[in-house]
């Protein structure tokens, strides 16, 4: 497992940029993929967004000033990409008089790559009902197990607001499940 400082030092060496970038991809692609997939549900969308994220990373690396950790910067780009994507999709669906959350739920049910029982489907459906930003906070905290301070850098939100958002998300999911099961 390569240390992010080592990767950045390697990147600064002439002719080693691509090697360093490949190390970043190798190191973080899986974590970023699952975070994006949590938000957008389908593999195709997650794949597109992950590739866009890494292309942005490649373009942004020369100006990366190390004011934050490399991985929080990567998560920030991935989260922003996913949230922008969701916003566009929601607007498009709204203009067609539809609901994107319902569409996501339907896609989840029909997704052949979804490997879960009835309870799992119900939980995922409840997570999908959360507002996009709250879902991102939930994903970063619960699945990615990041600290609130790190999420604060990623989402550009105060730690207090993040704690409240996460707590509220947990309550919503629990309550919905209690009603169903």
């Amino acid at each position: 497992m390569a240390d992010e400082k080592q990767i950045l030092e390697l990147y600064r060496q002439e002719g080693k940029e691509e090697l360093a970038f490949n190390l970043i991809v190798r190191e973080y692609s899986e974590r970023l993929y699952w975070h994006i997939r949590e938000l957008v549900c389908t593999h195709e969308d997650a794949d597109d967004l992950l590739q866009t994220t890494f292309i942005r990373v490649w373009k942004g690396l020369p100006t990366f000033r190390e004011e934050s950790n490399l991985y929080t910067w990567l998560y920030r780009i991935a989260t922003n990409e996913a949230l922008t994507f969701l916003k566009k999709r929601r607007i498009a669906k709204f203009l067609l008089l539809g609901n994107y959350t319902t569409a996501l739920e339907n896609r989840l049910k029909a997704d052949p790559s979804f490997d879960g029982d009835r309870l799992q489907i119900a939980i995922r459906r409840e997570i999908l009902k959360l507002p996009d930003k709250q879902r991102a906070v939930f994903s970063l905290r619960y699945f990615q197990e990041l600290k609130y301070e790190e999420i604060s850098q990623i989402m550009n939100t105060s730690v207090g607001a993040l704690k409240a958002s996460y707590h509220l998300a947990c309550q919503k999911i629990r309550k919905a499940l209690e009603e169903q099961f």
Binding site: V25, R26, S29, E30, I55, S113, F114, Q120, R124, R174
Partner: protein, 148 residues
């Protein structure tokens, strides 16, 4: 913290989705290909080739636009910029006024005003004593002699 514990009891952290086999291992090559293709496209695209010419043309257009704008804004300065319609309207009003007023009234009015102006001129004239006082107090003798 409490809510987190409760959620953990029912929500496993394992992702219930599957990804195609070898997806992550192929990611590096896929990205390298895309980045190279993007760079190539940027280098070869017509827009990239025309960029310097477009920038130059845009600069000229901007300078021309600014110059034109400034000229338009300052066009009316230094001369009467009446519109032809306004000028003819003013002419007709003046003509009508002249016709209505008699020549005698006009002359009386003119000379009356002139007389008033002359009176005012006399009233605001300086008295000789004041001029003498000023010359004696403010101007030196040498200067006074030099006037002669």
């Amino acid at each position: 913290m409490n809510s987190r514990k409760n959620i953990e009891n029912i929500l496993p952290k394992r992702f219930p989705y599957k990804v195609p086999d070898g997806y992550f291992s192929a990611m590096e090559d896929e990205l390298a290909r895309k980045i190279k293709a993007g760079d190539e496209f940027q280098r070869n695209s017509l827009l990239a080739k025309l960029k310097p010419a477009i920038a130059l043309a845009a600069t000229f257009a901007l300078i021309f636009g600014l110059g034109f704008g400034v000229m338009n804004l300052t066009k009316g300065l230094g001369r009467a910029g009446y519109a032809p319609e306004l000028a003819s309207e003013m002419d007709s009003i003046v003509r009508q006024e002249v016709e209505e007023a008699s020549l005698i009234e006009t002359l009386e009015h003119f000379y009356g005003q002139r007389q008033q102006e002359d009176t005012l001129a006399i009233n605001i004239g300086l008295e000789e004593e004041l001029i003498d006082d000023y010359l004696l107090s403010e101007i030196s003798l040498v200067s006074l002699l030099s006037f002669e």
